[in-house]
């Protein structure tokens, strides 16, 4: 018992370290490109530099994502290995760096230096293109989420789309093309079987996934991530997982059918969330739906033949997809960047503000105040904090599932989607539509 | 902005269609929940179709009403073709009951798809918008493809379905291409707006109008199986289950025809000079090729298939004239031709069910063994040939030819001349069958026929009933040429008010 607590403590320390590295680096770079450099350019060259300043600002989301993805993957792989070790009462990687904190960095280096092998008879063009197609959507696809997770920070507002939700869904359907392509081009029957399974699975589970998201959008009345997150401001009861505010309007005087509808709506939304989690697991090929790469039967499926940097790209994309799916759920269902209890958010912000004032209040002579304010905006920090907590909680939950559940068989997999999930999703769609009006 | 009362009013007018949708859902689910009561599906279908047809017919008295802001119109033309489609559907379902044993476990789905095809024709009859037109045509094509492939264990049926699918996909592409140009030129999908814009464009004639007309007409011609878009027809007609062939030869053609009438004479009316020439060419080619190739067919179904191509040629004469009389003649022709053709196919089913043969030579001497069957088939065939015994078929042809003469243009005269010339081989190949059945010695197949069975549990009752209905219809139609022609004329004159601009905008 004691050792488990000890291990959890170690894991928490490691997480803290890595999150500081990731978000410190990402925000530092974003800030220097998007705020510091433009300010310098504008002060030096005035109006003529405006174009370049804006160009730099427009580049911020791209740079931020490009930096975030590899760093985040390093942490996620490490966290997963440590968590799996924890769940199965083992030690996990603990040699490289303090407590094995840099194990995945070393792994990544090793992977990049490995020889790249192209199997004989492979279709070279497709073989090379497959990892790119698999990976590109996770970079492109995450963009509209940036505004919502950063509390609509001005640097990230331009990438917020009015059709953000639909955009992510469309883009996140692309990776399966890469899987099929890679599996076919490898000229290996295991790879091909993995690719075919993956395609069947992705297409089947995309339907209930889409339906569950559509239902949430119906509840929120918009496809815009920022608005969806804003609608859930307030408290836990306003989150979409509890019916998007249906419960808050209830009072003593409300009629019984209104109460019943609100409760039912909340129940439906909880079911929706479960539906989403299941389908999302299948979409990103996580256990118990990891048939496309089932190590024990298909020698890791579609990426059997890949090695070196191409394999690394597959690996990177897979974990990034998991993270995107978790963040997506955090924004869609779990209130985005808003705290679960009323007052908590304000307390966070004002506390932070006080802290900043105390630390940097004296530094104004060099006009540092403006820089600091733009560097650490209390409202943004609070939002990002809650998003981080929620997203990584979901990521860890996925690890827990991986450690717990066995893999499904392919026919069970298809049955489960078409005969259980799709009808459930349709029923929920209709139920939520009507209940929303009744509340 | 349209308000909710408009919708409720529109839905009230769409009741027959909604009823058909309910019947479709019923057919789709009935087999699943009550497999032991399977045999009631066709009966329910027939009643649903008759009910919906009667409901539609009840709307004949109301004038034209535009629904959904101009997307769909309920006028006399809609009603005529809609109820015709329902009647055809009912007769085809009736025929299929004699065929159900070959459909295996797919009978429920078969009836359901038949209802879908009928519904698609009903909607096509009233569409006044390109989007609705496209969705309707797609539904019709898709259900017809599936119906042609309903005999899964029969290779010819599979071939028919595949051929139909591939060629229908190609024509869908050309149609969509043409419609996109039409939309690009007129920036509207509503017929009325297109009409107004085409009027403006008529001042500066351009090749692009001809081009889009060719594209659109190729798709319509495909549905009508007019030469040169007929390549699919004979193989599909031969391979598909015979009731489906009957439906394809009249139900789906009625859908294509009503689309052609409405689209060409309202939306594209200002370009009539261009399209009537193209349609005229299609008509001439169809009459010549259809009739000449039909001459050489040894198979009864194939002969009917080619002759139906020829009939499309006759029908198109009426369309070319682009006059009230021409359109009325078309309406009359379609009603009468539908009955004759369905009757002939019902007879073919009866004969094939008993003998397993489809060769024309095998029909010889049928009169000795099955006098009533031979008589029914003979009446249908004589009418198809346009001979005046009883005179419905004759009048149909006469009206169409007259409208061609009335147009008093070179094109009209040429068309009628070709039609008269090609009627001669038509009379020959239809009468050949009749004479064989009546006069010749029985063929080997007919000799083996036992005495007829006459009880209701016989699977032959369905096609037999269909044949009786058709023959009765032909005789009644011959007695009531004037009332039918009045209806046809009223339906044709309904086309004019749809040219008003879009209501509510």
């Amino acid at each position: 018992m004691n050792s488990a607590v000890f291990e959890i403590g170690k894991f928490a320390r490691l997480t803290l370290l890595w999150l500081c590295i990731i978000f410190g680096a990402v925000w530092g770079v974003s800030w220097s490109i998007g705020v510091l450099l433009p300010a310098v350019i504008l002060s030096q060259s005035g109006e003529s530099g405006r174009f370049w300043a804006q160009l730099l600002q427009a580049l911020v989301p791209v740079v931020a994502v490009a930096l975030f993805v590899p760093l985040n993957t390093c942490y996620m792989v490490l966290a997963e290995r440590r968590l799996l070790a924890l769940f199965t009462v083992r030690k996990g990687p603990n040699r490289v760096g303090p407590d094995g904190a840099f194990q995945t960095v070393a792994d990544a280096l090793k992977l990049l230096l490995k020889e790249e092998i192209t199997p004989r008879g492979a279709d070279l063009l497709m073989y090379t293109l497959a990892p790119v197609i698999f990976f590109a959507p996770s970079i492109i696809g995450v963009m509209p989420l940036l505004a919502a997770v950063s509390g609509n920070h001005p640097l990230f507002t331009p990438v917020n789309l009015p059709t953000g939700v639909f955009y992510i869904l469309a883009v996140s359907s692309i990776p399966v093309v890469g899987v099929v392509m890679g599996g076919w081009a490898s000229n290996n029957k295991y790879s091909l079987v993995g690719a075919l399974r993956s395609a069947a699975q992705a297409i089947s589970y995309e339907i209930p996934l889409l339906l569950s998201i559509i239902t949430v959008c119906l509840l929120a009345g918009t496809l815009d991530f920022v608005q969806i997150a804003d609608n859930q401001r307030g408290s836990l009861l306003n989150w979409n997982i509890l019916g998007g505010g249906a419960l808050t309007h209830l009072g003593i005087g409300s009629p019984w059918w209104s109460i019943a509808a609100a409760l039912l709506l909340a129940a439906c939304c909880i079911l929706l969330f479960a539906l989403y989690v299941i389908c999302a697991c299948a979409e990103v090929n996580r256990t118990p739906f990891d048939l496309p790469e089932a190590e024990s039967e298909l020698v890791s499926g579609f990426n059997t033949e890949y090695s070196g940097i191409k394999f690394a790209i597959f690996f990177l994309a897979e974990y990034t997809n998991l993270f995107i799916v978790s963040t997506f759920a955090a924004v869609m269902f779990l209130g985005g960047g808003h705290a679960p209890f009323p007052g908590l958010e304000d307390a966070c912000i004002s506390g932070l503000r006080g802290l900043l004032a105390a630390w940097f209040g004296a530094c104004t002579p060099f006009q540092l105040g403006w820089l600091v304010n733009s560097l650490v905006n209390p409202a943004t920090v609070s939002q990002v904090f809650w998003i981080i907590v929620k997203s990584y909680a979901l990521v860890w939950f996925a690890s827990l599932i991986r450690a717990t559940l066995p893999r499904l068989r392919i026919d069970q997999l298809m049955d489960y989607s078409w005969k259980r999930l799709v009808p459930l999703a349709l029923i929920l769609l209709i139920a939520v539509t009507f209940l929303k009006e009744l509340v | 902005m349209p308000n909710i009362n408009d919708y409720l009013g529109a839905l009230k007018l769409l009741q027959p269609e909604i009823f058909l949708v309910a019947a479709i859902l019923f057919c789709a689910l009935w087999d699943l929940f009550f497999p032991s009561l399977k045999r009631f599906t066709p009966i329910v279908c027939i009643f649903a179709l008759l009910f919906a047809g009667a409901g539609l017919w009840g709307q004949f008295v109301i004038g034209s009403t535009t629904l959904f802001g101009g997307l769909f119109v309920v006028d006399k033309l809609t009603v005529l073709f809609g109820s015709l489609a329902c009647a055809v559907g009912a007769i085809v379902v009736c025929m299929s009951t004699g065929y159900a044993s070959r459909l295996g476990r797919n009978a429920g789905e078969f009836y359901m798809l038949l209802l879908v095809a009928t519904l698609a024709v009903v909607f096509l009859a009233g569409t006044t918008d390109l989007i609705m037109l496209f969705v309707g045509l797609e539904t019709l094509s898709l259900s017809c493809v599936l119906l042609s492939g309903a005999l899964k264990s029969d290779r010819k049926s599979n071939e028919a379905a595949l051929k139909y699918l591939v060629s229908t996909a190609a024509t869908t592409a050309t149609l969509l291409y043409g419609l996109s140009f039409l939309y690009g030129l007129t920036s509207s999908t509503y017929y009325g707006d297109i009409h107004n814009r085409m009027l403006e464009l008529a001042h500066s004639p351009s090749l692009v109008v001809v081009f889009l007309l060719v594209l659109v007409l190729s798709a319509v011609g495909f549905k009508l199986s007019a030469v040169p878009f007929h390549m699919w027809a004979p193989d599909v007609f031969e391979g598909a289950p015979t009731p489906v062939t009957a439906f394809l030869s009249i139900g789906s053609k009625a859908g294509g025809l009503v689309v052609a009438i409405r689209l060409l004479s309202t939306a594209l009316g200002p370009a009539a000079g261009d399209w009537s020439f193209i349609v005229g060419l299609l008509a001439i080619a169809s009459m010549i090729f259809g009739n000449l190739i039909a001459l050489a067919q040894p198979s009864f179904k194939r002969m009917l298939a080619y002759s139906s191509i020829a009939h499309v040629g006759y029908i198109l004469i009426g369309l070319t004239s682009n006059s009230l009389n021409g359109l009325a003649a078309i309406n009359f022709y379609v009603v009468v031709y539908g009955l004759m053709n369905l009757g002939a196919f019902a007879g073919a089913i009866l004969f094939t069910n008993e003998t397993g043969s489809d060769r024309i030579d095998d029909y010889a001497g049928l009169f000795r063994k099955r006098p009533w069957l031979a008589l029914g088939i003979s009446i249908c065939l004589i009418n198809l040939a346009g001979l005046p015994i009883p005179p419905a078929g004759f009048f149909a042809k006469a009206f169409v030819f007259w409208s061609g003469i009335e147009a008093s243009s070179v094109l009209g005269w040429t068309l009628v001349a070709v039609a008269l010339a090609t009627s001669v081989p038509a009379i020959y190949y239809y009468m050949r069958v009749v004479i064989k059945m009546v006069a010749r010695e029985p063929s080997d197949v007919v000799k083996q026929l036992g005495p007829g069975r006459h009880h209701l549990a016989d699977p032959q009752w369905g096609p037999a009933a269909a044949l009786c209905v058709c023959v009765a219809g032909i005789i009644a139609g011959s007695a009531a040429v004037n009332p039918i022609m009045n209806v046809a004329q009223e339906a044709a004159s309904a086309l004019q008010p749809t040219l008003l601009s879009r209501p509510g905008s």
Binding site: Q54, Y167, V180, A199 | V21, F68, V210
Partner: protein
């Protein structure tokens, strides 16, 4: 709002037209590849590329919703199913065959040139295409418009499409439903026997 300046600058240098030509330059070779590639599976993947570039054209016209649906439905959903179906065929065997004879190639290219000329001439012949001259970058998002139209003016075809899809689904079930063994390969008698037992 800060980026508005950048957008106007982009519109000023006619970046839109540039993008159009870039996308066209990608799409056309890909489309040719679909036709000419000997390997059907590779053709399938190229088709996905064609659809993706067409989605890009939609984005260029500010039709985000259409572009995204194009990717979601055509680019991935439908084409992928086609590709999978192709994978189940024996593609290697077919790459060895020579499908087009030289004589046919001549005829086919003649017809293609003829068709192209006709289309080109007829498109040039109309002078008054109703065009909009404003930059599409300045248009408002149109997803709401699409939704509104689908639910009001186009409600009927939208609903009717559900019947189309129902028919397609039922048809798919019909075609893929397993027949009793006796029905699949035996003659008429066997069929009737099965039917008889069904009715009892």
């Amino acid at each position: 709002m800060e980026s508005l300046n950048l957008l106007t600058a982009l519109a000023h240098v006619n970046v839109e037209q540039g993008f159009f030509y870039v996308l066209a330059a990608i799409a056309i070779p890909l489309a040719y590849g679909v036709v000419f590639d000997r390997n059907v599976i590779r053709s399938g993947f190229l088709l996905i590329g064609v659809f993706a570039t067409i989605a890009g054209l939609f984005f260029l016209l500010q039709a985000q919703f259409l572009g995204l649906s194009q990717i979601l439905i055509y680019g991935v959903g439908i084409t992928l199913v086609i590709v999978i179906a192709l994978m189940l065929t024996n593609a290697r065997q077919e790459t060895g065959m020579n499908p087009a004879l030289p004589a046919n190639v001549g005829l086919a290219s003649f017809v293609s040139v003829l068709v192209f000329t006709t289309i080109y001439l007829s498109l040039r012949s109309a002078e008054d295409w109703p065009l909009k001259n404003e930059s599409s970058l300045s248009l408002p998002p149109n997803i709401e418009m699409i939704g509104k139209h689908l639910m009001t003016y186009y409600a009927l075809p939208f609903e009717f499409a559900s019947i189309l899809l129902l028919a397609a689904l039922v048809g798919a079930v019909m075609l893929s439903k397993a027949e009793p063994a006796s029905l699949a390969n035996a003659g008429d008698e066997a069929e009737q026997a099965v039917d008889g037992t069904d009715r009892v």
